[in-house]
């Protein structure tokens, strides 16, 4: 799903006019139309047309992605369903190497002639660009897998759940928040099904069926007398799961000052507690700036991991391919080559993983047909690896790609994107309560807030949804106007405790932007609650 598409959907009322800005919504799909896929034999036939056409025009390598992308958006506010939209996009993207250079072209005209013309266009673009090459593209070896398939292991296909049922759930969420005293509430459900077929001139024909779900709400409380307002967003995460994610289980709840959720999300309960908490936020004490020991819940820490670990370990950034937009990375090759670069404290272990069940980034094969895998990025606090695609692997001496290629759509060229990157839980038995009881002056932070990091991923600033002051091992009350600033290396070196695996949870983003033209990808980050000592906290309150 494209971020712009989401934003337009989320922002539009019932007037169809706003749809005019949505690119590539493609074919229509009825709201309750039975879920279906395109026959795999038909996809193979069309892929072979592209492969043959590209080869006949001079391509030395070709890959073909036939995609059918199905999205559903249900958008509500207070007691109204603002929008229900199903979109489908179906087409083919053809990537070639000719004269040593990449070329790419895409079309939504799925007849043989159009596909052959598109393949020829990709080859001609590659040849035109070859004169700007300094060295030919070098691909890591990859065997053809033949005809294989993979599917997200879902229990309930969310597209099969009647729209009425899903809309009613969201209206119940809104009702719960309003009855709890909220002034306004909006809730959304976003469903994604990527049906992706990959074929290459090396003999792979890979059929994948990928599902993602994101339930979300935000609750606002306005104090009309003072003109102040506060917002609390949902604490549930987007997941690579089916509708079972929204069927709550008590065993997936972590009870504490606020209830948090593992692999099932009780969105109604979260809405009820958000109404109480947003009221509490209005009355909360404004933070006194200074150094604090931070106890970061995974609902907050995932985004810090994403920005300060996930992005700087992308090899394309390290090499300068993102220098014009997303930036480069402070984790330069010399630091990796030293084998001894101190990224964090010895308890910090961060793993890249495209296999993790329930995660947003889990697939069987990436978008250049490489089987997915798991590997270490930071081991005992040291930088040990990066993230690569086939044309990058040789840079760090690998004889294989790590399977990090992704494109948001059949119509966009695939490139290096982040796998799930997760902080490994502590090995000794340790609960969040155990961590808090040893903190003298600190803040417990839950939920994703404002986030910003520099173009080489040193200096960052993060907010949150809920801030609780810790004094002498006890949570004493709620704070507001909190943001923490640090330097990536200093921050991870200040990590002094990580709760054990019983606290491990996934957070994640549906819309991680990168590249020109910018593309979105969805990625999860797991963590257990962790403690960071002596982090700088600023007060964000202002007057205009």
């Amino acid at each position: 799903m494209k971020r712009r598409q989401f934003l337009q959907m989320a922002g539009m009322g019932m007037g169809a006019g706003l749809l005019a800005q949505i690119p590539l919504v493609g074919h229509a799909v009825s709201l309750d139309r039975p879920w279906y896929t395109i026959d795999v034999a038909r996809k193979k036939e069309l892929a072979d047309v592209a492969l043959n056409a590209a080869r006949s025009k001079g391509a030395t390598y070709t890959d073909v992605r036939i995609g059918r992308y199905l999205n559903q958006f249900i958008i509500t506010r207070e007691d109204k369903v603002e929008n229900i939209a199903n979109t489908e996009s179906y087409g083919i993207g053809i990537r070639v190497i000719a004269n040593g250079s990449w070329g790419f072209a895409a079309t939504d005209k799925m007849d043989r002639d159009s596909i052959a013309r598109t393949a020829a266009l990709a080859v001609s673009i590659a040849k035109e660009n070859a004169r700007l090459l300094t060295e030919p593209v070098q691909l890591a070896p990859q065997k053809g897998y033949g005809e294989v398939s993979w599917k997200t292991p879902i229990e309930i296909n969310a597209f099969d759940v009647p729209v009425k049922e899903k809309a009613e759930l969201l209206l119940s969420v809104n009702d719960a928040a309003l009855k709890g005293g909220a002034s306004y509430v909006g809730s959304n459900l976003f469903l994604v099904n990527e049906q992706k077929y990959f074929a290459s001139s090396e003999g792979s024909y890979i059929d994948q069926d990928i599902h993602r779900i994101w339930p979300y709400f935000d609750v606002t409380k306005v104090d009309a007398a003072t003109g102040k307002f506060e917002v609390r967003e949902s604490l549930g995460a987007p997941r690579g799961m089916g509708y079972e994610y929204l069927v709550p289980r008590e065993s997936d709840k972590i009870k504490g000052i606020t209830t948090l959720y593992r692999d099932r999300y009780d969105i109604l309960e979260d809405a009820r507690q958000s109404a109480r908490q947003v009221e509490e936020k209005l009355k909360a004490k404004s933070v006194e700036p200074g150094k604090y020991d931070l106890v970061l819940d995974p609902t907050n820490l995932w985004l810090t991991i994403h920005e300060s670990v996930g992005h700087p370990t992308e090899l394309d950034r390290v090499m300068g391919y993102e220098a014009n937009f997303a930036g480069t990375s402070f984790l330069t090759l010399d630091k990796w080559k030293s084998g001894n670069f101190n990224f964090g404290s010895p308890i910090v272990n961060l793993v890249a993983d495209k296999l993790q069940p329930g995660s947003l980034g889990a697939v069987g094969y990436d978008d250049e047909g490489v089987a997915t895998q798991q590997w270490d990025l930071i081991k005992n606090g040291k930088l040990v690896n990066y993230q690569t695609t086939r044309d990058q692997a040789h840079i760090i001496g690998l004889d294989h790609s790590q399977g990090c290629s992704y494109s948001q759509s059949w119509s966009d060229v695939q490139f290096q994107r982040m796998p799930n990157v997760s902080l490994q839980p502590g090995t000794a038995k340790l609960s969040p309560a155990d961590i808090i009881k040893n903190v003298e002056r600190g803040i417990f932070i839950a939920g994703r807030g404002s986030f910003s990091i520099d173009q080489q991923r040193y200096n960052f600033q993060f907010g949150g949804q809920l801030f609780y002051e810790i004094r002498n091992g006890q949570i004493t009350g709620m704070l507001k106007d909190v943001a923490y600033q640090s330097n990536t290396q200093e921050f991870w070196n200040s990590c002094k405790a990580i709760a054990d695996k019983s606290d491990y949870r996934l957070g994640g983003s549906f819309f991680d932007g990168k590249g020109q033209p910018m593309q979105s990808s969805a990625v999860s980050h797991g963590a257990s609650t962790a403690r960071f000592n002596g982090v700088n906290v600023i007060n964000t309150a202002r007057k205009i």
Binding site: L24, D108, S183, T226, K228, G320, Q456, T540
Partner: protein
Amino acid sequence: MPIVTQNEAQALLKKVLAFSKADECEVILFGQDSANLRYARNAVSTSGGNSNSTLVVASAFGKKLGIATINEYDEVSLEKVVRRSEELARLAPENPEHMPALGPQQYQPSPATYNADTAAIDPRFRADEVAKSLRITKENKLVAAGYLENTTGFSSMMNNKGLFAYNNYTDVNFSVTLRTEDGTGSGYASKGFNDVNGLNISAATSVAAKKALASKGAKAIEPGKYTVILEPLAGLVLLENIINSMDARSADEGRSFLSAPGGKTKLGEKLMDDRVTIYSDPWSKELPSSHYARDGRPQEKTTWVDKGVIKNIHYSRYWAQKKNVHAIPEPDRFIMEGGNTSLEDMIQSTEKGILVTRLWYIRPVDPQTLLFTGLTRDGTFYIENGEIKFPVKNFRFNESPVIMLNNLETLGKPERTVSVESGINALIPPMKIRDFTFTSLSDAI
């Protein structure tokens, strides 16, 4: 589907409407041909293009609306998409906020958003232009990462109440980051136009090269409040957040920087310096944009901030009706009036200050005060006694554009600028601002 003319769009949309059995039917057709060349490490990296179009059909029975889309245009497909939207409308819950379709609208003539030379850009042109940029890069012993993209597109809408609108456009955007080979200096330039003849890739690359070379060896200075000179690139990414946050409903509901205690708004209040005037004008020669809004309303030349006073805010049709006011849609692009001071004069008149080329990773911190955070990037310089003395390490800022526009010292001549955050084009002057709040240092280059 190729880019279609106004007459072709009109004929197709009429055909679609003829299939409708709904109380109201609105049909939108849009499409674009877009292609790009991306380069890095002084060589092409990725490049491609795609062509796509979409037909959107919205059918309404009373206050129940269904939307369906398709990208096939034979008669069977056209009837199918209309039937499907009607089926969805019957399934959808009634929305009390649904607005009836607009009748015929009086649009002013189309702005000059389309340019034939831009529409004719081909792969060879892109490669030739990028070659020019690379030549300057190599002459200066720098490392380039850049992006050139051209787009030709159209949009059209019609409904069974008599509305018809059409607009076509072209855009070409170029940006480049040049870094020194040792990675200790970086410079940036970005330009966008409807007419490719306004684009001078060599000149833009030379500006980036100059900044990259001058930014080597940046020194650290203490964060704090500084006088800053924000080049248009830097100012735009803050100013666009003012325009985006001027929604009437949010203000009325008490959850906007324009909300006031007691359920009131700050419409009509003076919130910024007298010299701040921000408006939108689709017929601007330098910054043309569509003459109709996404929902079919005519766009007007509109002043949003007049001499520091909040003059207008944008309304959805529903909220305008509820509040019984004239409804102004959100603009596509905006212009901030400037002055005649050159950037050089601004620097010469600065006793102590910071010159900022580009701001990056701008994110909201507090919607109540419109506080944003982000960082400087790709060319930040210390000014003392009217001269650029040395490059400085990048800063993180925490600042509200509203507060910033109260601390205005000098305005320069507006330039057409591309936002590195949203991609929109705007006409923005360079600005000299006092007491701009930098909260920490960054080692990033």
